[in-house]
């Protein structure tokens, strides 16, 4: 029994040290590349739905700890066997470590926003585990004594605890440092401030909480001090800018409505904020963009790519690199320290968060993340309108009922909004004032409501005179269309 216990322990402890070292490296460089979280994610993806359902049903909210515990258990069993076999044949140590490293690396690379580097922590961890076991293993068949084995075991276990604790500390310090670096930023006043809001705007013009739609499992935490933006590709002069470089440039401040392509008709993924940023056009003029380029590929810190038509940065609209939102630095989940914003484009085509690179290229040469998944390469916002009051299935009293909502066609602006009750003629709604054509327009209409069930519909006409289409389209692949309707029962 004892003959096998020691090699098994040697296998397990070597692996533990390797995992801890990999987690430490990941914590210090790219948290998403940590092998345990990566393997956990891959296991979740690979688990058949019935098993997943069974797990959630049986374990409830404990499913995640149980999953990680199971991974650790499998790992311990595997490494115990490797340790026992390696005591007889040393090459097993190398092979076992290789399997272990490749599995971790493959899991990390299978994550949606993976970059090549993500394989490194797992491979390094495997190399450490393999090496330790290789040095340790020959001692096992002819044990040099319990004392010496214990010393080595304690050393390796101690190393594991230290590396694990260090990984945790690094995460904590980095988290705190990012928050501090955000608090330390004093945003300069805009050289070109937003116009004061016209009087008569109703509450709700600015969104209390801007929607969040992205693929980041963990919100990237970027230290503003170390952040750089590289502009490269089809340019005359590559540049690398710090946040201080950006803040020294003249800033513009604008009210802009941003919306998500996956928003359904009447859906919630839209919001308005006051944005502060560096206009992109002068920056592009300085780096000298090649005349053949037609796409800006923005890359985020977690590897997301967003492809924006170059023309939309040069046609006079307020395309910018945002540093502030509603008077303060960007929230971490909204892209701190810098995000892109292109008025008139859906977020997936013009609003890369946590941006670290702008590459000038062509649409022929590069498909960005969502384009590879079948979404349209250009993402102009479709003209749309939404009824916010009354809410669906409301039961208002007969008499005067205010029907109100928003309509948007960023860039083109909204000329008219019309409301229809059941199949009666369309009636023009009152439009509230707006600061620019890049925001949504609030509208309202007094309805003389009669008892019974009624369906209210809305449609908008944009600044070019085009009426919003009644034709229903799903959000995929280029944005939802159709008139929003709400059914109510008047009492």
């Amino acid at each position: 029994m004892l003959r096998r216990t020691r090699p098994a322990l040697a296998g397990m402890l070597s692996a533990a040290l390797g995992v801890a070292a990999a987690e430490l490296l990941a914590a210090a460089t790219r948290p998403a590349a940590g092998p345990l979280v990566a393997v956990g994610g891959a296991v979740i993806d690979a688990t058949p739905t019935p098993v997943k359902e069974f797990a959630v049903r049986t374990l409830g909210t404990h499913d995640k700890p149980v999953l990680l515990g199971s991974i650790v258990l499998v790992l311990l069993l595997f490494t115990a066997v490797v340790g026992i076999l390696a005591a007889r044949r040393r090459w097993v140590a190398v092979a076992g470590a290789a399997i272990f490293g490749v599995a971790g690396a493959a899991a990390a690379l299978s994550r949606p926003a993976a970059i090549a580097y993500d394989a490194v922590p797992s491979l390094l961890g495997a190399a450490i585990a393999g090496t330790v076991l290789l040095i340790w293993a020959p001692a096992a068949p002819a044990p040099p004594g319990r004392r010496r084995f214990l010393r080595t075991a304690l050393l390796v276990a101690g190393g594991t605890v230290v590396a694990g604790a260090a990984a945790e500390t690094v995460k904590r310090i980095k988290g705190g440092a990012v928050a501090q670096s955000r608090e330390a930023i004093t945003l300069p006043a805009a050289a070109d401030p937003a116009k004061p809001l016209p009087s008569g705007i109703a509450p709700g013009f600015y969104s209390d909480k801007l929607y969040r739609v992205d693929t980041a499992l963990t919100v990237p935490r970027i230290d503003a001090g170390g952040w750089r933006l590289k502009i490269h590709g089809m340019v005359r002069d590559e540049v690398s800018l710090s946040l201080a470089d950006l803040l020294e440039r003249p800033l513009i401040e604008r009210d802009i409505t941003l919306n998500c392509v996956s928003n359904e008709v009447g859906g919630p993924y839209i919001g308005t904020a006051r944005w502060l940023g560096v206009p992109l056009a002068p920056l592009l003029a300085e780096v000298g963009v090649d005349a053949a380029a037609d796409q800006i590929v923005a890359r985020s810190a977690e590897g997301m790519t967003i492809g924006t038509p170059l023309a939309t940065a040069l046609d006079g609209r307020d395309t910018m690199l945002c540093v502030g939102m509603n008077g303060e630095p960007l929230q971490l989940e909204h892209g701190f320290p810098v995000r892109m914003l292109t008025p008139g484009l859906y977020g997936y085509a013009g609003a890369c968060k946590w941006v670290t690179e702008l590459e000038l290229t062509t649409f022929a040469d590069f498909d960005a993340y969502w384009v590879r998944r079948g979404w349209a390469a250009n993402g102009p916002v479709r003209t749309a309108s939404r009824i916010d009051r009354p809410q669906p299935f409301a039961r208002p009293a007969a008499g005067k009922v205010t029907v109100a909502g928003v309509a948007w066609a960023q860039g083109r602006g909204i000329r008219t909004v019309e409301v229809r009750v059941d199949d009666r003629p369309w009636r023009k709604a009152e439009l509230l004032p707006v600061p620019s054509s890049d925001t949504w327009v609030q509208w309202r209409h007094e309805w003389d409501a009669t008892p019974g069930p009624h369906t209210l519909s809305v449609r908008a006409t944009d600044g070019t005179g085009d009426v919003q289409t009644e034709q229903r389209a799903t959000p995929y692949p280029s944005g939802a269309t159709g008139w929003h309707s709400v059914t109510v029962t008047v009492e």
């Binding site: 801890a20 979280v37 949606p112 604790a165 945790e168 969040r212 739609v213 299935f393 069930p453």
Partner: protein
Amino acid sequence: MRATKFTAVAAAALFSVSLAACGDDSTSDDAGAAAAPAPMTSSAAPMMSSDAGTDTMTNFGSGCAAVPKDSSNPGSFEAMAQVPVATAASGNPVLSTLVTAVKKAGLVDSLNTAPAITVFAPANSAFEKIPSKDLNKVLADKKTLTSILTYHVVPGKLAPADLAGTHKTLEGDSIKVTGSGTDFKVGDASVVCGNVQTANATVYIIDSVLMPKS
């Protein structure tokens, strides 16, 4: 004895690392924890909002077997959890008659944009119990259809634990749910697949159409 101790140390060390690694993402956003996030599928939507509510995705009932298993299928539980209720139902072959009725009544947007609701969704087999002449008559009468459909909707998301009891429907009349655990009846209808999550509604699939008294 010592061996046990060392195993414990090794396990503790590994666990401390694993929990630390996992704690980091659960504090910020655990949207992807329970199910494959939308962007994993080939035609996935750019949406992964933190309020998708996938963490309470605990379905129960024999009828759940009829729901597609492949998460890239729009009718699967994973896909339905990401989109509002009428869109979710339209991806599900088990609910195609209901979806036709909802479209005829013009209730797609209302159901999709209601803030938080519970829908008792009759499966196709429930509609098959109604003589086709009667069914066609109801489908052609928007007012009656609307009152029948809204009789299947209750404000708020009802978890299984809150399901039993009397609930006022959006139609105005109340419905009575009896049972417990994973075994419920809504009036005379049985819940065949319960606690299906969509972005804005909790859905209980039932085997009979409910009829308001009025």
